[in-house]
Amino acid sequence: MYALVDCNNFYVSCERVFAPQLEGRPVVVLSNNDGCLISRSDEAKALGLKMGEPYHLVRPLLEQHQVRVFSSNYALYGDMSRRVVQVLGTFAAGVEVYSIDEAFLDFRGMNLLAPDLMKYGRELRETVIKHTGIPVCVGIGPTKTLAKLANRLARRQRTTGVLVLATPAECEAALAQTAVADVWGIGRRYARKLLEMNIDTGAALAALPEPWLRRHLGGVVGQRLWRELHGQPCLDWNPAEWDDDGTQLSPGPASRHSVTCTRSFGRPQHEAAVLAEAVATFAAKAAVKLRRHGLAAHLVTVILGTDRYVPTAGPATRTAVVNLPDATSDTAVLTQAALRGLRQLARPGVAYHRAGILLSGLEPMGQVQLGLFSAPAADQQRRQQLMTTLDALNNRYGRPLVQLAAAVGVKSSAGQPLAPAWVGRSAHRSPRYTTGWNELWTVH
């Protein structure tokens, strides 16, 4: 068996842990740059506020109902997510972190330890809320796909918040209650195709013969889906790994195909120097992530986006890909490549709203194949040591202390760096209660 644990209205729940007066009141959290609604409390949902609605459009409604509005505080959400996963780790042999607020648990063989999975699921749920303050729902099923389906249905019954699909009859009943578009793995395109053929529920989909799914839903992918719906696990299990001291979880190695860092700008930018500073900063951040996971990248993709809502000649998002002769995690090499990509990409006079860096073609660090014209091994080893030192310094001070000059913006006359021109709006961010020494949670 597998379990899927999903945090209820996760970002709102994180805010409530440190602000109990928000309990029972409508609360929303805005996306990066205060763009749109990305998390809503049940009370906010009841007001008719929709996921993804632009903030400026729903502002009158928010004010009318005195909805508490927060900018996203990813330092807090990341820390709370880490705590939830840590508690989950005590309930299962393995945890696969699926997103910031969802994780799969390996319950294979669990029926021997805990014959009553319903009771075990409830105990898990109560422990997570007691230890972290975050309410969760639990779906348990014979495959990851069915666990995910059970979780969707568990969310409807907030009182128990746990649903176990143990028998084939229970799985069938759950499939019959699930719209085909809500089956994990059915994208919008397939959902439309299936609805045209009058296949409207998970049960109708599961009733089709296996070769049909193979033919119509993407070959092996369709076949796997059919088996998963029939209780035969065939999706990869890719558990997170604990650090040596058992406090940090890193995603399983195979789950990382790319590392990204993208942001929306506070206001549109067209100046080459500002864009270069932003792109260099993103490259440095992505490089740190890369090194944290012990990976090196072959490809650097630079992403620039213009306003989606303004009709332009070209596509709203443009990318340039720079190929590196050797896979690397060296901030200097990656930044150079990113700036080269930016020069290819940026058109003078065009105002950009977003920029980003995507590192792909990943391989484990140290297994790097040396090219014919690459730097000698001793040189590379020295560079790697330099990067380790850089990370250690920046880690110790909790914010970038040592940076490449390319990532550092204009300084004020007093020598203090000014806030970069590209930094986004976050007018309503709560304190970094659990990660910032100067923003610690206060008790009276």
Partner: protein
């Protein structure tokens, strides 16, 4: 293989017998997932040795009992008090005569956020942890 970077000579015989230096987080965060640090404002607990500006470690996983110092939720606010059971009724008691003890009525309900496990008090006077920019 390269774990002992001595350029020449004999590797240190103590190399594989070294203990790690003390790590205070191990002491303070017995349950790292459920322990949170908070800054104390106000003087209601000075009698228990908790001064304004101190840091307290609060563990949500612990079960509060008679005499525990807790962070409780009263009227939507977090408050630091000692929990006492008097004739079966819970009271939230300040450790400072200037604040009267608060009986927890049945309809108010006792909400304990977590149990305080440690106090970190800086003697340099500028508050614990504030030296870190």
């Amino acid at each position: 293989m390269f774990s002992c970077p001595v350029p020449a000579g004999f590797p240190s015989p103590a190399d594989d017998q070294l203990d790690a230096p003390f790590d205070l987080t191990q002491l303070l965060f017995r349950n790292p997932a459920s322990t949170f640090l908070a800054r104390v404002s106000g003087d209601s607990m000075t009698g228990a040795g908790i001064q304004p500006g101190d840091l307290v470690a609060v563990d949500r996983a612990l079960r509060p009992g008679h005499g525990s110092i807790v962070v409780a939720v009263v009227e939507g606010e977090h408050t630091l008090k000692r929990l006492q059971l008097r004739a079966g009724q819970p009271w939230l008691v300040a450790e400072n005569p200037r604040y009267p003890p608060l009986p927890v009525s049945r309809d108010m309900g006792l909400v304990v956020w977590g149990v305080v496990t440690h106090v970190i008090h800086s003697l340099s006077g500028n508050g614990t942890g504030a030296g870190r920019r």
